[in-house]
């Protein structure tokens, strides 16, 4: 267990020691800042009865950032260690493969949370400037963040898996982006299919629909189970992939 924390701390620190992290953080905050500006515009027009959080969490910008952010955050996790050979140092230390995989995964999740953390400021600003009689509803805000974390935790697990497949970071990022795109755009079947059963099945994995619900303030257990079990499956697959070196 202590090995896990040692590894986890290094993984998280490694993000802050590389320039990619800061570039992505800036990219993310610029886009989220723009989304917030749009949200403020909606408010300024005095529209009522709109789930506000959809501007932040259910916009085109939210998805384009999530789909590009995740591959960039996860591509180096295993690929870089394999390329530089540090994987040999890591795997000959007395730590289990599972601990390594989990530490890398939770390091990525922690950094994902850290990237989101500054947006809490938006909520505080909203609160500050809204009239006392009509404060922003905290429920949907909390559920939106929860939804972003859930989706992130599954997508990051997919990214980790892709990184463990190759020693080339670019390949890892592209494969991850492709898988995420298939998953995300595949979910659109939920909107376009004419067959009821197909629509219903697609609803189970349609991230767009899930996020829309979360932004509305509705936490359904079905997506919660879907994302957590999805993440667990990808982590399991990653552990097996790392162990596979011992089967040859």
């Amino acid at each position: 267990m202590s090995a896990f924390f040692t590894l986890w701390r290094r993984e998280l620190a490694a993000y802050f020691l590389s320039p990619i992290a800061y570039v992505m953080m800036m990219f993310f905050l610029v886009i989220m800042g723009f989304s917030f500006w749009l949200l403020a515009n909606v408010l300024a027009q005095g529209v009522e009865g709109v789930p506000l959080m959809r501007e932040l969490f259910d916009s085109f910008f939210f998805w384009i950032t999530t789909l590009t952010l995740v591959p960039v955050l996860t591509m180096r996790l295993f690929a870089e260690e394999k390329r530089s050979g540090t994987i040999e140092m890591l795997m000959t230390a007395p730590v289990s493969d599972t601990a390594v995989v989990l530490a890398k995964y939770f390091g990525a999740v922690a950094f994902y949370v850290a990237i989101w953390a500054p947006t809490v400021l938006y909520v505080l600003i909203l609160r500050w400037f809204s009239p006392m009689s009509a404060p922003p509803d905290l429920g949907p805000i909390a559920s939106s963040y929860f939804g972003a974390l859930l989706i992130g935790s599954f997508y990051l697990a997919i990214g980790l898996f892709c990184s463990a497949m190759t020693r080339n970071q670019i390949v890892a990022a592209i494969v991850c982006f492709a898988l995420l795109s298939v998953l995300f755009f595949g979910g659109f079947i939920a909107f376009i299919s004419r067959v009821d059963t197909v629509r219903e099945v697609a609803n189970y994995f349609c991230s767009l629909a899930h996020m829309r619900e979360f932004a509305r303030g509705a936490v359904d257990t079905r997506p919660v189970v879907f994302y957590l079990s999805g993440a667990a499956l990808m982590l399991f697959a990653t552990v097996k992939l790392v162990e596979a070196r011992k089967w040859k």
């Binding site: 090995a3 590894l7 290094r10 490694a14 050979g85 140092m89 000959t92 230390a93 007395p94």
Partner: protein
């Protein structure tokens, strides 16, 4: 002596080739053993198997009584391993890196700092603790790798080419460090530089094409392979006489002469008996002026060449 490493019929196949072919050897506790072989002989592969990084295709390997495959964690707790190219995280500082590795290898948080300082001093890293690993020279990086291998005070230390890329002074320092480890720790180091083993190792394992071709102390290997001695004597005297007299000495099989300035150098091949005193006595008796009398030492290099050549011819 108790065995630290036991390797039995170890074989490792990669696609299309046998990197390690039915290798068996043991290393006793406290021994410093050199693993010697040309590039691609299977040294690194064997070491990687011992360090639990690669699995063997067949055969077994035990470290301190634990099987490297079944009890991999127990084995890894007991070894310090320095891989061939010394991979390190370039973005970390030396202190950070060593204390991270110490924590990973289970050095308690209280012991960690003094222990890191100890290995830093041992490996000559005291002045570079705050430097970033990626900016260090090759020699310093190599020493960081050494410090990393030693940081948890392991019973067995496996070093893959520990002196590659170092300048002569640094090589001397590294050798010093290795020699100081000897009684307390067991060391298995690989190299393709021959003088290296002669100065640091008590025993040499020569490996070629995945097979162990010899295993002995450097000195014994020498006498075993040499068969006879060669003695060189430089002197002045009537040429024909000298050769004739030298042939009279016991065990002499061949004498050749060559001129060096106005001296004559005789190469005397003889049996295992040391006939240098007899050569001297003969010179004294016949009134030759003797300016040099020595026994030619066959270098480990020759032995190595002989062993690996034989192996190649038999294939």
């Amino acid at each position: 002596m108790e065995n630290m490493i036991e390797v039995k019929n170890l074989t490792k196949r990669f696609a299309g080739c046998r990197a390690v072919d039915d290798v068996s050897f043991t290393v006793g506790k406290g021994e410093v053993v050199g693993f010697l072989g040309p590039n691609g002989a299977g040294k690194s592969t064997t070491m990687r198997i011992l360090a639990c990084y690669l699995p063997a295709s067949s055969g077994e390997a035990k470290v301190a009584g634990f099987d490297v495959f079944r009890h991999s964690l127990e084995v890894r707790r007991r070894i310090g391993y320095l891989p061939e190219s010394t991979p390190l995280y370039p973005e970390m500082r030396v202190d950070e890196y060593l204390s991270y590795r110490a924590a990973l290898k289970g050095v308690g948080s209280r012991r960690r700092r003094p222990r890191v300082n100890e290995v830093k001093e041992l490996c000559g890293l005291t002045d570079v603790g705050r430097r970033i690993v990626g900016q260090l020279s090759k020699g310093y990086r190599q020493r960081v790798g050494m410090a990393d291998a030693l940081v948890h005070d392991p019973e067995l230390i496996i070093l893959d080419e520990p002196t590659i890329g170092l300048d002569p002074n640094q090589i001397r320092q590294v050798r010093e460090v290795i020699r100081n480890l000897a009684p307390k720790h067991t060391v298995l180091l690989s190299t393709h530089i021959l003088p290296e083993v002669e100065v640091t190792c008590q025993r040499v394992l020569i490996i070629n094409r995945g097979r162990i071709v010899a295993s002995d102390s450097p000195d014994r290997l020498r006498t075993r392979l040499q068969g006879g001695r060669e003695i060189v004597a430089e002197l002045r005297g009537a040429k024909g006489d000298v050769a004739q007299e030298l042939y009279q000495l016991p065990g002499v099989t061949r004498v050749t002469a060559e001129a060096v300035e106005d001296w004559t150098r005789f190469r005397i091949e003889c049996g295992t008996e040391d006939i240098r005193p007899l050569v001297f006595a003969a010179a004294a008796r016949s009134g030759w002026t003797l300016r040099e009398l020595r026994q030619e030492k066959q270098s480990l290099e020759d032995i190595f060449a002989a062993l690996t050549r034989v192996e190649q011819e038999s294939k």
